[in-house]
Amino acid sequence: MRATHLLRTLRQPLAHWRLAALLALGGVVVASASCSKVASLELAVPGTEQPANFPAMVYNLAKNPPSAAAFELGKALFYDKRLSHDGTVSCGSCHQVAAAFAQPGFRFSPGVGGRPGARNAPALQNLRWRRSFMADGGVLGLELQALAPLTDAHEMSMPLADALARLNADTNYQQHFAAVYGPGKIDTPQFLRALAQFTASLTSANSRYDKYVRHEAGGEFTAQEVSGLAVFKAKCGGCHATDLFTDESFRNNGLDRTFARDSGRAHITSWPTDRGRFRVPSLRNVAATGPYMHDGRFATLAQVLAHYNHGVQPSATLDPLLRQPDGQLGITLTAQEQAGLLTFLNTLTDQAFLTDNRLGPPH
């Protein structure tokens, strides 16, 4: 990748100057600048651009610069069932492109042996804008994230050492890894880096809503959608903030009174004040990512709205935004507001993303 970049640079005027300066300084500034250059040049890797309406990217691209070969390798790994203990489950079993990489129809996705997991499989999108992963925020990096499903007994049930042994025993993977990372054993860093090339590429930024806010062609909103957006901003935007539709905080949105089954954020922090708090999820592609909430308890968006309107349960950690001044719980939504919200939520569907062949299973 770097080599091709240098070759391209060489063909440009004053290329020697740049090459020499690069060699001379070789510092962080130049290294990172050259990496973002790599990203924008490499059109073969999907989702490398910073959408104009998104907050700044969190992920350090320079640590794992996108390349077409590494992306293809990551994709092969993502869809390879041999990475599960009994060869029946791949990442792609629970994360399907047509559902923005959630799994439609399952509250709890079955892993090896059909064993259901503990939480609903979430959409995978715009992961480069995330600080932590999982509904409880327990995982601190995109690369590390893959270890959780890989090794979980309810998901792929595959010790990392065994997964690496399988990869190292496969001549196809040996060649593929060697082509990207150079010769040598396939070890944790190469494996995780390659998988993250794929997961990091899953950028969804071309819904009708995006075109509407960016004033692009195809971004026309009906009057109902416009009013739905206004209701959303006023009543939901306190948590589902920014154009990623999440402020990345952990909050209790009133699903339960007690949290014996899943304590959410407290599972990681052990603080009683975190009991029942879950990550505020993005709502991009939300029409395609049901069932909803960490345990997939709601099948439809209408049920979600009904929950906010009259289903919110009291508990010590219930978010203050869901306690009205008169003591009533939840968010009052008229029938008209709910209809507007539903049409608005549907504008968040990014059809190009859901049907992107480059992201689907390899043939």
Binding site: L14, H16, W17, A20, A21, L23, A24, L25, K63, N64, M134, G138, V139, L140, G141, E143, L144, L147, A148, L150, T151, D152, P159, L160, A161, L164, D187, T188, P189, L192, R193, H267, I268, T269, S270, W271
Partner: protein
């Protein structure tokens, strides 16, 4: 074109020369250094630990076998009588009772002098454990099965086996980790040299022989009976008590040798 290359080229040359120069100066002013060897003997009371199904008993007469014992030793610090210390950077060692090579390691570049104590973290500091995953190689590699994927971080100590005095037999599962309050299990052990000195000189490799007693995992500031010993696989009040136990008494200096 060539002359365009000249300026940067000169920058490189002078830059490199500058670096070399400063390195040399540093070397002149640096104290001389030596290497210290550490050796761990895993024990159950007075018996060497075997993972072959040998049953051991506790002070209260309960019996158990051990199938796995692994723990991290890191952040090794040597102390002198005057209270000054040397903290060896970048030392992370996974001791695995099933791999004899893992029970011996050396710490190099220790400034020469006479040391009267050693301390180390039993575990992996939070900065390293939640840091760049792509730097987690060697003993820190998550492939060593000493890693909690769901909560980003290493398992500091893993003890597995069977409580054979319980009927029916009970699995002994003790995975200690976690670096967040209120249940941080990051503890430091400081086994006493009992009056010996560790003489670090350039050209010799003095050795600290340590013993690590499994019984002290259950018995220290908190005394656990094996029948009530909790299955610990996540940070909890009990896992902190276990960590305090092994920090307090598991490690003892069996000897300090000059060479």
């Amino acid at each position: 074109m060539k002359k365009y290359l000249l300026l940067p080229f000169l920058l490189v040359v002078f830059g490199a020369a500058g670096v070399l120069n400063s390195c040399k100066k540093d070397a002149d002013s640096q104290p001389t250094v030596g290497t210290v060897s550490l050796e761990l003997a895993n024990m159950v009371g007075t018996q060497p630990l075997a993972l072959d199904g040998t049953a051991y008993s506790t002070a209260s007469g309960e019996t158990f076998t051990v199938s796995t014992l692994k723990y991290y030793i890191s952040n090794i610090t040597f102390a002198k009588a005057d209270g000054s210390t040397y903290a060896a950077p970048g030392e992370y060692h996974l001791i695995d009772a099933s791999k004899s090579a893992s029970t011996n390691f050396t710490v190099s570049k220790v400034p020469t002098g006479d040391y009267t104590g050693v301390s180390f973290v039993v575990g992996v500091d939070s900065t390293t454990t939640k840091g760049d995953p792509l730097a987690l190689s060697g003993d820190l590699n998550p492939a060593n099965a000493m890693y909690w994927a769901w909560a980003t971080g290493h398992i500091f100590l893993k003890l597995e086996g069977t409580v054979t005095s319980a009927s029916p037999n009970k699995a002994l599962v003790c995975h200690i980790g976690g670096y967040r309050q209120p249940y941080s299990a990051l503890v430091t052990a400081a086994p006493s040299f009992k009056g010996s000195t560790l003489q670090v000189r350039s050209g010799t490799t003095p050795k600290i022989r340590l013993s690590a007693d499994v019984l002290k995992i259950f018995d220290g500031p908190t005394r656990f009976t094996l029948s009530s010993f909790p299955t610990t696989m996540m940070p909890s009040a009990a896992s902190v008590q276990v960590a305090q136990n092994y920090a307090a008494g598991m490690f003892a200096v069996a000897g300090v040798q000059a060479n």
